[in-house]
Symmetry: D2
Subunit: 318 residues, 4 copies
C-alpha cells in the first residue's frame, strides 16, 4: 500500500455505493465528491440502516451515511448501527456544507408559491428566511428534502427547500439559493466498507472507536479519556450512547486525531482494550476539511515510542 494515498487505494475496488437516498439528498451530493465513485453504481437507500445493511449483506461495497450534525438523518442511528452488528470500517470522511435552495418548476415565480415542501430539519434551518420571504406560504413536511423536490416535480407542491442537487434530479430550478438562516453549517458523512486494512496514514488522519465500559462506575469515562490524554491523542468528538441492553449502561463513541498505525493511537487503543468490556475499532481515515490536527505534545511521536520501548528492552536484559 503506497503511503500518502490517503485512503484512495482502499476504495479502488469499490464498484457499488449505497447511500442515504433518495436521489437528490445531501448524501448523494457528498458521494459526488468521492472521485472513485464516478462511474460506479450508486444505490440510494431509504434509511441509514438500509444503507449499512447493504454493505453487510454484500449488496454494496461501500455505504455513505451521515454521522454528525446532519439535516437529513439521525446521528444516533448511524452511531448505534455501527456500534452493533457485523463490524464495518470507516475509510473516508466527507464534510459537506449545508446549502439549501428554494427549488421550483421552471417558470414559477415567488408570488405563485403557496406551498413549500421540505423535511422538518431543513425547515428548522430556513424558517426565518421562509417567514421573511414567503410569509403567506404553507409549509408541508416530507420524509426527505429530496422527496420534497420530487413532489414539487410532480406538481404536488409549489416549491421545495432542498439541496441544490435535488433540483437536478427533479428538473427544478432555484428560485433562491443559500437560504439557510445560519450559513456555515456542515454535515459530516462517512464512507463505510467491510473490514480490511485501513487506508495508508497521511499524517493528517482521524480514528473512530466505540468503547463499552466494563462497569458503570463513577469516573469510568474519565478513565477512558485519560488513556487518550496521557498519550497526547486529541479527541474531536465524544458521545455517550445507551447500549440498549439495559437503561443506564453506556458506551462511548469517540473520534480522535491520528491513525491506528501511529504508535500513540495504537497504544491508546490497546489500553482501551485492556480496561473496557469491549472496544470496537471503526477505522482510521484521512481528515477532511481545513482544520489541522493539533501539534503533538513532546514525547508522543513514533520516535519517542520506539526509543522508550528500546530503553525498556535494554533494561530488562540488563
Amino acid at each position: 500500500m503506497e503511503s500518502g494515498t490517503g485512503g484512495v487505494d482502499r476504495v479502488r475496488g469499490v464498484r457499488r455505493y449505497a447511500y442515504l437516498g433518495p436521489e437528490g439528498t445531501f448524501a448523494e451530493a457528498a458521494l459526488r465528491t468521492v472521485p472513485e465513485a464516478d462511474g460506479a453504481f450508486t444505490l440510494p437507500q431509504r434509511t441509514v440502516p438500509a444503507a449499512i445493511e447493504a454493505v453487510r449483506a454484500d449488496e454494496a461495497d461501500a455505504a455513505l451515511v451521515p454521522i454528525e450534525n446532519s439535516v437529513e438523518g439521525s446521528v444516533a442511528t448511524t452511531l448505534d448501527e455501527l456500534a452493533t452488528g457485523a463490524p464495518l470500517q470507516i475509510v473516508r470522511e466527507i464534510l459537506l456544507p449545508v446549502v439549501f435552495s428554494l427549488l421550483v418548476r421552471p417558470g414559477t415565480d415567488a408570488a405563485a408559491v403557496k406551498t413549500v415542501a421540505t423535511h422538518p430539519h431543513a425547515e428548522a434551518q430556513t424558517r426565518r428566511w421562509l417567514r421573511d420571504h414567503l410569509p403567506g406560504a404553507d409549509v408541508v413536511f416530507t420524509g426527505s428534502t429530496a422527496g420534497a423536490a420530487m413532489a414539487v416535480g410532480h406538481g404536488e407542491y409549489d416549491a421545495a427547500v432542498a439541496a441544490p442537487i435535488a433540483g437536478v434530479h427533479a428538473k427544478l430550478e432555484p428560485l433562491a439559493e443559500d437560504i439557510a438562516d445560519n450559513p456555515g453549517g456542515v454535515t459530516r458523512f462517512v464512507l463505510l466498507t467491510r473490514p480490511g486494512p485501513p487506508p495508508a496514514p497521511t499524517g493528517r488522519d482521524k480514528t473512530t472507536v466505540v468503547a463499552f465500559i466494563r462497569d458503570d462506575h463513577t469516573g469510568a469515562l474519565l478513565e477512558v479519556l485519560t488513556e487518550f490524554a496521557v498519550r497526547g491523542v486529541n479527541l474531536t468528538r465524544i458521545e455517550s450512547r445507551p447500549t440498549g441492553e439495559l437503561l443506564g449502561r453506556y458506551c462511548f463513541s469517540v473520534d480522535c486525531e491520528g491513525h491506528i498505525a501511529d504508535a500513540r493511537v495504537g497504544d491508546a487503543l490497546a489500553a482501551l482494550h485492556r480496561i473496557c468490556a469491549d472496544v470496537r475499532y471503526l477505522g482510521s481515515y484521512p481528515r477532511a476539511g481545513a482544520a489541522e490536527n493539533k501539534p503533538l505534545p513532546p514525547g508522543r511521536d513514533d520516535t519517542a515510542f520506539t526509543a522508550a520501548a528500546d530503553w525498556v528492552r535494554t533494561l530488562r536484559n540488563g
Copy 2:
C-alpha cells in the same frame, strides 16, 4: 417550596404546554404522563425548535421535546437549541417506552394492507416485523408517525406504524401491537420552562449543563470531566457538539446525577464556571425511570462539604 415534591410545584403555574406534534406523537404520549398537564392547553408544534421557541416567546409556559434516543426527532436539534438562544430550564424528564402499533381503519385485515405509512426512524425499528408479516406491502414515508396515522385515517394509505396514541386521534385501531424489532427502546423527553427556581431536590435528581471550553487543547474535555469526578458526581450522558461558530470548536452537553442544591453538584458547576469560556445550566430535576443514582463515594455528601468548609474557616482565623 416544599421539599420532596419533585418538581411538581415548578409546573403548578403552567397552563399552556407546547410539544413536538402533531397530535398522536410519542411526545404527546409523554405529555400525558405529566399529571399537571391534565386539563391544560396543549399546543402541538411542527418542530422541536418551534416548540422551544413558543416558550421563549411566552406563547407557551412549557415545552415537551425529545432529547435522547428518539424515534421522532433529532437529539442534536434539541441539544443545539438549548445550548444557544435565550436560556431555558429543564424541570422534568420523562422516559417513554417506544411501543409501535400497526394501526388501520376499523375493519381492515392484514391481507388488505398494501401500503404502510410511517416515519423513517420508525420504519428502521420495525423493518424485520414488516418484512415478516407484510412482505408484500409498500412502505411510504411521512414527516411523522402521527402524520402517517392521520393519512391512514383519510384513506391515503392502508396502515400506519405509529404510537398507540396516534390511533386515538385518527380513529384507527391496532391490527398488531408491540411490533418493534428490538423491544425495550425508550425515548427520553424533557419539559422546558423559562428560567426560575429549580424543582426542589428529591434525593434522586439529575442536572444538565452545557460547557463551552475555553480553548480547544488536547485534554480540555478531561479537565471538565475531572471536575465532576473529584467531587464524586457521576455522569449519565455526555456529547460533544460543534459550536457552529467555527468548525473544530466544541462544547459539551452533560447530564450528571444530583441537584444543583447538592453541595457537590454546585461545587462542580462552580469549577466549570472558572475553567470554561461559558457554562449554561439547563436545570436540575427529578430522575425518571427505575435506575438509581450511584452511591456516593465517601466524603462527597453535603455533611462532608460543610465540615470541610468549617475546617478551612477555622484555620484561616487561626
Copy 3:
C-alpha cells in the same frame, strides 16, 4: 493584621527561640537571619524533636529546625514530628546556603592539620576537597559540625569542617572558606509556633499540609494531587511517609504555592479534608528565596472563585 507584612507580625510576641543546636550550627546561622530574633532568648536543643517539644511544652515560643536537604539533621525526623503530636504551625521558611569553612585555632597552618573533625554529612559534602588539600589528615566524626568546632577549640582535633558561624563561638578562624565539593547547596529551615492565625498573605506564599489517605488503594495519591491540580495549585515538595501504625500505610507531606487565605488553596484543602482520613495543616508563610510562584492558569484567582460562587448561588435561587 496588616497585609503584606509577611509573617513578621506573627513572630512579634516570640521571645524564646529554640533551635537545633549546639551553638554554631547552620540552624543558628539561619536563626540569625530572622530580624525579630535579634535580642530574643535563643535556646539551642540537642535534637530536632527536643526543639519541637520545647514549643509544645511552652518552654519556647518558636523553634527553628531544618526540614529539607539538611546537612545537620534528618528531614524525616522533622516531617514525622510535625505529622503527629500536638499541632504546630510553620510561620516562616528560611533558605540558608550551605557554606563550609575549614576552621582552626588561630595560628594553625595547613601542614599542622593532622586531624579534621566534622559531622558525617558535612564530610560527605567536602570529601573531595579534603582529599585534595589534606590528603594525610585523619577525619573524625562528631555529633554535629558545631560540636566539631568546639572540640577543635578545646584542642582535641586540629581542624573542623563546619559553618562559618561555628568559628565565632569556638574562637576559631577559617583556614579555607567555601570548601563544599558542589557549591550551591541550600538547607531549608522552618520556624514553628503553636497554632494561631497564619501570617498575612504576601502574594508569594507557600502552604504545608500532611494528608493521611483514607485507604491505601492504587491511585490514592493521584486523587490527592488531582485536588491541587484542578485548582491550579502548584506543588513544590511531596514526600510519602509511613504512618508508623502499620508498615504499608502512608501519609503524604506536601508543600504547595499559595496561602490558605487564597480561595484556590482553601478550596483544595477543603477537598482534601473530604477525601482523606485526616489532614494536618502545617501553615501558610511567605516564600523564601528567589524562585517565584508559578503564574496561575486562567480561572484560578480569587476573583474567579467569587464569581463562580455567586453564579451558583443565583442559579440555586432561580
Copy 4:
C-alpha cells in the same frame, strides 16, 4: 535464570560487600540477613556515599545502605547519590526492625551508668526510656551508634544505646533490651550492585525509578503519577528531590509494586521515558516484609497486555 529465586542468583557472584559502618551498625545487622553474604568480605564504610562509591569504583561488588526511615543516616543522601553519578541497581531490599539495647561492659549495673553515648537519631527514639530509667545520666553524642558502643568498650562512657549487634563487636552486654519509645520501627536497606540483568521476577516485586520532569509546570507530577495509575501500578513511596542544579527544579524518586519484566511496569516506565527529561531505573527486586502487593485491577496483567497488543496488530493489518 530460575524463576522464584528472588534475586538470590543476582548476588551469587558478589564477594565483597560494602556497608554503612562501622561494624556493629544496623546496616551490618541487615547485611547479616543476606545468606549469600555469609563468608564474603564485608567492608564497613564511614558514610553512605563512601559505600556507594566503593561499588562504582569496583572496590566492592555490592553495597548495603539505608534508604528509608533510618536511624543511622539520611534517606536523602542515599536517594541523591543514586539519582546522580554512575548508574547502580537495587537487587534486594531488607527491612530491619529498629531494636535498641542499652549496652554496658560486663558487670556494669544501672546505678553505675553516669554517661550514655549514642547517635542523635537513636537518642530521639529512646529519650523517654532514658528519662524514665536513667534520669541522672548525661547523654553524649557520637557519629554512629556502633561508635558509641566501641567508645563504651574503650571505657570512655558507661553505656551505649545501639543495635544489639554492636555489643558483639564491642564485647558489651545488654543491660536492657528493646528500649525504643515506640516499638515497631523499621529501617529499609537496599543492596546495590553495578548494572546488570535484574533478579528474576518472583510475583511479589518492587521497582524503583527516579523521574526528572521535563519542565516544572503545575501538574507535572500528576502526569508522572497518572502513567502509573492508568496501568494499575501501585506506588509505595514517592519523594520529590531538588535536582541541585537550580533551586526549584525537581526530580521524583518513586517505588512501585511489580517488576520491570511485568508488562504494566515496563509500559509505565516507557511512558515515563517519553514524557520526562530523564528517567533513571534503579532496579526491580523481591519485596521484603509481610505486606503483599495490591491485587491488580482488571486488565492490567500480562495476559491483558499481550491480548491488547495482538488486537491492535490485527487491526493494523486489517
